[in-house]
């Protein structure tokens, strides 16, 4: 584990929480200064996984409040059929513009990028673990393989293998 926690705040959608938990690496979120989880996201996660949100090492911020979205943002969200948790995430990002939005949903990612936010997903968090000295390249490669074998995150296999190859090259 990196000795000093990153200063980065993340707002989490359900996907990365579920997928990181599925591959056994939810604790990677402990590296972030704050992990903001909107109420709607927590509800969605709990429909799929038993995540307690009490993991002591992770700086959870479970937020119930929903801030009003501008009408134009609401319209974009509706056009892209974003769910309640994703809309809550975007409203929270409005108050945390420097935060990174973690999502594996392509539509939510498109909207967030268009609104000017930084966005990454499960793959990014896993690969980042190498740079942050949280996992070695071999461990990350194993986790990426588990994405295909045990998780509900769907990635084109040829691309996943390309990522695994790139990650393994990091240890040379």
């Amino acid at each position: 584990m990196a000795k000093i926690r990153s200063n980065t705040v993340v707002v989490c959608d359900a996907g990365p929480l579920i997928h990181l938990d599925e591959v056994g690496h939810l604790q990677l979120l402990a590296d972030f200064k704050k992990v903001i989880v909107p109420h709607g996201v927590r509800r969605e996660v709990n429909n799929h996984r038993r995540i307690s949100f009490e993991e002591a090492d992770i700086s959870w911020s479970l937020v119930k409040a929903v801030f009003p979205l501008e009408q134009s943002v609401k319209t974009i969200c509706n056009l892209f059929s974003l769910d309640a948790g994703e809309k809550e995430s975007l409203s929270l990002l409005n108050n945390e513009p420097d935060a990174i939005f973690l999502t594996d949903d392509a539509a939510a990612r498109i909207v967030a990028i268009k609104l000017g936010y930084r966005v990454h997903g499960t793959i990014g968090v896993l690969v980042r673990a190498i740079r942050r000295d949280l996992l070695n390249p071999e461990e990350v490669a194993d986790a990426l393989q588990r994405i295909r074998d045990v998780s509900t995150l769907y990635i084109k296999n040829s691309l996943l293998q390309e990522v695994i190859t790139k990650v393994k090259q990091e240890q040379r």
């Binding site: 059929s81 539509a107 498109i110 990014g124 980042r128 740079r131 790139k166």
Partner: protein, 64 residues
């Protein structure tokens, strides 16, 4: 038009039927077609590839 047979969660089916009953769509089949069309529009293969590559780049060379 292609006819398919599939299974979906009960609540999704009920939601589609409700939209049709409220007059927003002619029937639930149109709801499903529209939902799939929108999903396909936001899930272009090239775009999703780019998202993954961007994640890898951030993961390996980001500065946070």
């Amino acid at each position: 038009m292609k006819t398919i047979q599939t299974e979906i969660p009960e609540n999704l089916y009920k939601g589609a039927v409700a939209l049709a009953e409220q007059g927003w769509f002619r029937n639930e089949k149109e709801v499903f077609s529209e939902a799939i069309r929108r999903f396909l529009e936001s899930h272009q293969p090239e775009l999703m590839d780019n998202f993954i590559r961007d994640d890898v780049e951030w993961g390996l060379h980001g500065e946070d």
